[in-house]
């Protein structure tokens, strides 16, 4: 049996499809780390699986059970770009010659992002640079181990990846439809599976991988800078690498992203479930507080360039980070903030 690890690319990092189980339940669900935490994408997954609205039962069924449980390694937020990876996982689940694998023991890793429509066409998706960037560290480890890696995506997305010259050890595959994907997986008999040759110079490849990711990221930044400046109202957008309404567990890190529409000074406050508020940013770990440039995603905590990280611990419950943006450098009282500043709130569930 060939062991294949399926990674769903997200902006928060690659998510491994851990397991698929047919279940005698009315609806299909996506669960986190084999726990009873049900991810919000479950309704969309159920649509994707169900005959009539979806393609999984139609293409791989019939099944005696009415639904599937899909266990994944991390949170998948909103959007539908998980569809391609989930389709690949179901194809492997149905195969007699392949089996879903963890990363450590995989014969091959396949990193996927894209949508799959009812006619099995593969669609392009957004945020490619962020997805590659957030996968770099993990993938470089497996490049060094010599595990072949395939990046599979829709045609425009694949072109984007190829244009930025991925390192040896990573093969980019452009997919027009799911039949192309099945060929990549070696599940279409008449076409040999694409298996990139192993390269033994692992450390240079890892460096190349990181450089390539850097190039992709630099490209995305360049795009941002070259955009024409327009007069817009001051707004602030706070999100995390796990999306707008994430779930965190004790021990997880909060990777906080902030974007402003004008040059602005930013202050962020963390509110615990017990009502305690403390200032998150600026803090004493930030040596030089500067204003935030517009139209640029500032990684406030947890990123490679961040000066501090936030690791979650008790108490559990619904918590929030509230960020304010002001054109002037002012002190903000979170209990009584001024009315003329822009504000955005990231709310999340923190669980033990």
């Amino acid at each position: 049996m060939r062991r294949i690890a399926i990674l769903i690319a997200t902006t928060g990092g690659p998510v491994l499809v851990d397991r698929i189980t047919p279940e005698p339940a009315p609806q299909s669900m996506v669960c986190l780390r084999r726990q009873s935490d049900v991810l919000p994408i479950s309704a969309d997954y159920d649509d994707f699986v169900r005959p009539g609205s979806g393609v999984i039962m139609r293409e791989f069924g019939p099944y005696e059970e009415g639904a599937f449980r899909l266990d994944v390694s991390d949170v998948i937020g909103t959007g539908l770009s998980w569809q391609l990876g989930v389709f690949a996982a179901h194809a492997i689940f149905e195969s007699d010659e392949h089996v879903l694998s963890d990363l450590e023991t995989a014969d091959q890793i396949i990193w996927l992002t894209g949508t799959v429509d009812y006619d099995l066409n593969v669609g392009d998706v957004d945020h490619m640079a962020e997805k590659v960037e957030s996968s770099a560290l993990m993938l470089s480890e497996y490049i060094t181990k010599g595990t072949p890696i395939i990046f599979a995506a829709g045609q425009e997305n694949a072109k984007f990846l190829e244009d930025h010259q991925p390192p040896q050890g990573i093969t980019v595959v452009s997919l027009e439809n799911t039949n192309d994907l099945l060929k990549v997986l070696g599940l279409v008999k008449e076409v040999p599976a694409q298996a990139p040759s192993r390269n033994t110079s692992f450390w240079p490849m890892a460096v190349l991988a990181l450089l390539a990711v850097g190039a992709v990221f630099a490209y995305s930044q360049q795009e941002t800078v070259s955009e024409k400046t327009e007069e817009v109202a001051l707004e602030i957008d706070v999100t995390s690498d796990r999306g707008e309404n994430p779930i965190f567990f004790y021990g997880d890190y909060l990777n906080l992203w902030v974007e402003v529409t004008q040059e602005a000074w930013v202050s962020c406050f963390y509110k615990q479930v017990d009502g305690t508020i403390f200032q998150l940013y600026p803090n004493d770990k930030v040596v030089e507080v500067q204003s935030f440039s517009p139209k640029h995603k500032h990684v406030l905590s947890g990123g490679n360039n961040a000066t501090f990280a936030i690791q979650f611990g008790p108490p559990a419950g619904k918590e929030e980070v509230r960020c304010y943006a002001s054109p002037n450098q002012i002190d903000i009282d979170p209990e009584n903030p001024p009315h003329d500043v822009a504000v955005d709130v990231l709310r999340f569930d923190l669980k033990p």
Binding site: R19, T21, P22, E23, P24, A25, P26, Q27, M29, C31, R34, S36, V38, S42, A43, D46, R69, D71
Partner: protein
Amino acid sequence: MNKYVIDLALKEVAQAHFVDQDNARSLMNSHAEGSLAASRIYRYVMGGQDDTVAKAVRENLSVRRIYRELLAKTSAFYIPEALAASTEEYPERHGEGCLVRLQDSRAQADQVYLIIEVKDQRRDLPKSLTLFGVEDKMVSLDLPAGRNGVVQTIIDRSSLAAVLLADPKTEIFLR
């Protein structure tokens, strides 16, 4: 003078009800720290977030009984305790217009599916489930959004909700 005839069979029930009402009045009229207005408990029943009320419902039997009465008046579906005993580990619970059941998970033996099916799909699907078991045990769960007349989630087999749903004497409120 009017003459009243008291049905002796109902006397105990009437007395118990009086005690509950009296406790409720005392609690709500008390000026001591921690007293709760009925309107506040009502808002909580209707889905409002209130940590103080939540704590009182958990810890104070009188508040819990008021909560149960308000819940009974506002619930979309109610399933009383089952009359017949069941040999199944998790008996299916049938109410007027709805069914509540637990289904074993094949993937995880320590988890079960909680499935709520509403027969009339034109009706709003419940957003919360509250269980009242023997010895005044109580638990409330927020439910995920339902679809096609079905609300489904996963709970741990060892959770209080699963334990209460295994007992046919548990009352079920869906709101």
